[in-house]
């Protein structure tokens, strides 16, 4: 199966408001996103997995994701796995605090000195995991690293199109399937990758398209034929538009 570009790493912080450790996750994630790895990371608000659309729910299937949790409840990791996809890695602040022998973070609203040190340690751990994931092959279905290797440097590319206030949206295309409008996450990028690979329309390529689409979307049982017809048609239209634009 073709592999889509693995450009960015997703970070999902629990941001738990009740605990100081939740504030640590938020501040550490923001530091990595804005200061330490700004061109290589993207985030999404955790509640968007339920409140958002299909593109939001595809987040962890689209990006190798690091779940950053404040406590052992692991809201970010568990909710991400349940609602989007299995995170590729996880960080738990309370574990890091013990590991580094730090004092207990206190002050959800204003962190104490130990909390600020925990932010440092957590941000460092997240940044290290980002580097590791960008240098590794990653299985979108299982969230697991396939193999670890140095790999080429990943080029910084434009962030994905904004789909919400967080700027975390995943490209989604709307298509007509048997008279019903269906949103397919990642379809524009899938088409683009197939075009770049020189794949001409045909039955075999259409089947390959369907298999790739299924990685990011739920295709109802018995609907394969209808989806194949739609994908064949839309891919041809996409190629025509691309040719006309060049």
């Amino acid at each position: 199966m073709p592999e889509l570009p693995n450009r960015m790493v997703g970070i999902v912080a629990c941001s738990g408001e009740e605990l100081a450790e939740g504030t640590v996750t938020r501040l550490a994630a923001l530091r990595v996103l804005h200061e330490m790895r700004p061109d290589r990371t993207v985030t999404i608000c955790l509640p968007l997995f339920l409140a958002g659309g299909k593109g939001d729910r595809a987040f962890a299937r689209f990006y190798p994701t690091i779940a950053v949790d404040g406590c052992e409840k692991r809201c970010a990791a568990r909710a991400t796995e349940q609602l989007s996809g299995k995170p590729a890695a996880g960080v738990i602040v309370s574990d890091l605090v013990r590991e580094h022998g730090l004092g207990r973070p206190e002050g959800a609203r204003r962190l104490n000195a130990s909390g600020l040190l925990a932010v440092d340690a957590t941000a460092d751990r997240i940044a290290g995991l980002v580097d590791e994931l960008l240098g590794a092959k990653w299985d979108r279905r299982t969230g697991a690293l396939v193999e670890l290797e140095p790999g080429p440097a990943v080029s910084a590319e434009a962030p994905p199109q904004a789909g919400c206030a967080c700027g975390s949206g995943i490209p989604v295309a709307k298509v007509d399937v048997d008279g019903r409008t269906v949103s397919l996450a990642a379809l524009p990028l899938i088409f683009e990758q197939f075009r770049e690979a020189g794949k001409a329309p045909g039955a075999e390529v259409t089947q390959e398209l369907l298999a790739t689409v299924k990685v990011y979307n739920d295709v109802p049982a018995g609907a394969d034929e209808a989806y194949r017809a739609v994908l064949a048609r839309e891919y041809a239209v996409f190629l025509d538009h691309e040719r006309a634009a060049r």
Binding site: E17, L19, R26, H34, P47, A165
Partner: protein, 142 residues
């Protein structure tokens, strides 16, 4: 779960991508820690996303005020999906429209405009809490 002694739950959105999410968080802290600490309790949105039993019970048994940073309204949606009653919901942008001079900036740390906007929002939320605790507002059933 029986109604909480601090009987109004406050749920801010967990917005991490824009400054409005931080304003909602700061306003929620101001209400639950400073302005109406005796009558409110902060509930973490992440727990509701996970389906935590205690958090769901808290919003199901008590009126809940939500504070959202953007139009997607994650906090309000999540509370309703968790079986909660939302007699009052607030949006940071609405408060900003009433206080155009308080333009917020900063996500990890709010600037002066953001802090003042959060304070203005917190005042609005506190007034809603007063109305709810005084029984002036009907609390809808879940």
């Amino acid at each position: 779960m029986s109604p909480d002694a601090r009987n109004v739950m406050v749920v801010p959105c967990s917005g991490i991508g824009k400054t409005y999410g931080t304003v909602s968080r700061e306003a929620a802290y101001e209400v639950t820690e400073d302005l109406r600490a005796e009558s409110t309790r902060l509930v973490a949105l992440s727990l509701l996303v996970l389906g935590d039993d205690e958090a769901r019970a808290a919003v199901a048994a008590n009126p809940t005020v939500t504070i959202d940073g953007c139009k997607l309204g994650c906090a309000e949606k999540m509370v309703r999906e968790s079986g909660g009653r939302v007699p009052r919901s607030f949006a940071v942008l609405d408060t900003y429209r009433r206080h155009r001079d308080l333009k917020p900036d900063g996500i990890a740390e709010l600037d002066e405009g953001g802090r003042r906007l959060a304070h203005a929002l917190a005042d609005e939320v506190a007034a809603a809490v007063d109305s709810l605790t005084a029984g002036d507002e009907e609390v809808p059933h879940a």
